[in-house]
Symmetry: C2
Subunit: 309 residues, 2 copies
């Protein structure tokens, strides 16, 4: 398939595939969630299983009235019950994607992470991937982790790279370039993540991540700007041309996300990975566009599950 | 004085003050350093004490030929000797600012940090401040630390805030708004820097930093975007209107710097703080503009020393 270079290309690709993903939504009861549902129904990329709690049914029923063929409603006593039921719909294969509505993120994640009945397979690593469409970059840029893992261990880095590379392939990129981010190019035991990076590069050479180019440590600018690399005399094929950035901690990943979206005028999409199906947990301060693109990204990832990796 | 809102206003302010700062340059022997020297001489904001090593004198002598009244030359056998001599020129009051030319940063810092003969006073904290002029922000934004302190301690946070607030005042801002950056608004012992933040806010209320507003934890977007704050129901005067961002680690500070300069189309300036005089250590991948603005920032800071804080 052709490489997808923008988020609207991603939506077009979904439309032309004529597949509607089945999305289970927990507590669809706020204007942001309504916007995403209405827009994705109009774009014909999704159908919905709306799981409502007893006190907040109105929006769901009005959405079903407007699109009776593509909206089903499930009722549960409380938001926590709604979360459990939506997770169950994904587990039993009735839904392809889980999406958060108006429920506390911690409560939703409790259902997602619940042993035996949740969405994380044994030994699975829950992480977050963001996809940025940046006016000053020549392609989509994926990165992890802006939201979930505070200080990745080696195993968590491996899981993040595996998921992000798999997502690159879904977006038509057969040989993703992965940059391991630090402040400088130096490996230094004072910064233990740079020691993990050495191991990850070795993993890559041994084929652990498939066809992929992994390099680092390097800073975020060097990863995305050829000129910076030239000044430093770096010749790696990752330098200046990264598809994926792996950050050493949640504060740097989160700062990248927030800076791009505010000052880089970027369109963002994001989802949780490591689960048996994509989980969409939009951040409150994301734009409407960003929330819609997050759902579209999850639809694209579709059946990209931990098992298939 | 009037609030300085752009880096070119900063240069104009220096020009109109008619004060030339005396800048000691270690090993001026590369085109970037030459550019900064020539431009600042033309703008009449600096005069130079060029400290050359035995093998690289040509550029210095050619600069002196062009501006004999404002360029003096000092010779030293090696680059390390040149660094020691330039530091001595600052210590003895013959120079106001130290600037790096073509010498390894570690070697220059060794001279700066040397006990008894260096530029860091007893108990001083070496840190870095950057000043960003961002097209999508309504004023200059200062932040620390993108370059020096890996994981600030409480004392180091205090020193960073003290220096950055003092620099804000030099730029005409009498009541700087300081945002303490994290991924969320939650104080959480799993993230020890958020516990330091509680103490720093208390420090601020007790007047430790003078007239200042300190708030956090909050993410970088919330600090600089009123809309994000409103969505989260935050009402602090710092939210959406920060003058200073304090980052929890060097990876997040560095990521902010690199992302702004590459994807935010920002003009950047930066210098070391905590020393008895500003030290300018441009990064190789900085633009020529950024290197010049860094020198201009140091000229503005001028005699802003640890002692005066």
């Amino acid at each position: 398939m052709e490489l997808i270079r923008t988020l609207s290309q991603l939506v077009n690709c979904l439309r032309s595939s004529c597949i509607r993903r089945r999305v289970a939504v927990v507590c669809p009861n706020d204007p942001h969630t309504e916007y995403v549902i209405i827009r994705s129904l109009r774009e014909e990329i999704a159908e919905y299983l709306l799981v409502v709690d007893a006190d907040h049914k109105e929006m769901a029923y009005s959405l079903r009235s407007a699109s009776p063929d593509f909206v089903r409603i499930y009722e549960a006593p409380t938001p926590d019950d709604a979360a459990a039921l939506a997770v169950e719909l994904v587990r039993t294969g009735e839904a392809d994607i889980l999406m958060k509505g108006l429920i506390n993120t911690d409560n939703l994640l409790r259902a997602v992470l619940k042993k035996d009945t949740g969405l994380l397979p044994p030994g699975g690593v829950l992480s977050h991937v963001a996809v940025a469409q940046i006016p000053l970059y020549h392609k989509l840029l994926l990165f992890s982790d802006a939201a979930v893992i505070p200080r990745p261990t080696l195993e968590q880095y491996r899981a993040m790279i595996t998921c992000d590379v798999a997502l690159c392939r879904v977006l038509g990129n057969e040989q993703p370039r992965v940059a391991l981010i630090h402040c400088t190019e130096k490996v230094n035991e004072k910064f233990p993540h740079t020691l993990s990076y050495v191991q990850l590069k070795d993993d890559a050479l041994r084929g652990r991540f498939g066809q992929v180019l992994v390099d680092g440590p390097m800073d975020a600018k060097t990863a995305c700007d050829k000129h910076s690399g030239e000044i430093k005399g770096l010749t790696s094929p990752v330098v200046g041309n990264a598809d994926v950035l792996i950050f050493p901690n949640i504060e740097s990943g989160n700062t990248f996300y927030k800076t791009l979206s505010l000052f880089g005028d970027a369109n963002m999409a994001g989802m949780l990975t490591g689960t048996i199906a994509p989980v969409v947990v939009p951040s409150r301060s994301d734009s409407g566009n960003s929330k819609f693109y997050s759902l579209a990204l999850a639809c694209m990832a579709g059946k990209l599950t931990q098992e298939s990796l």
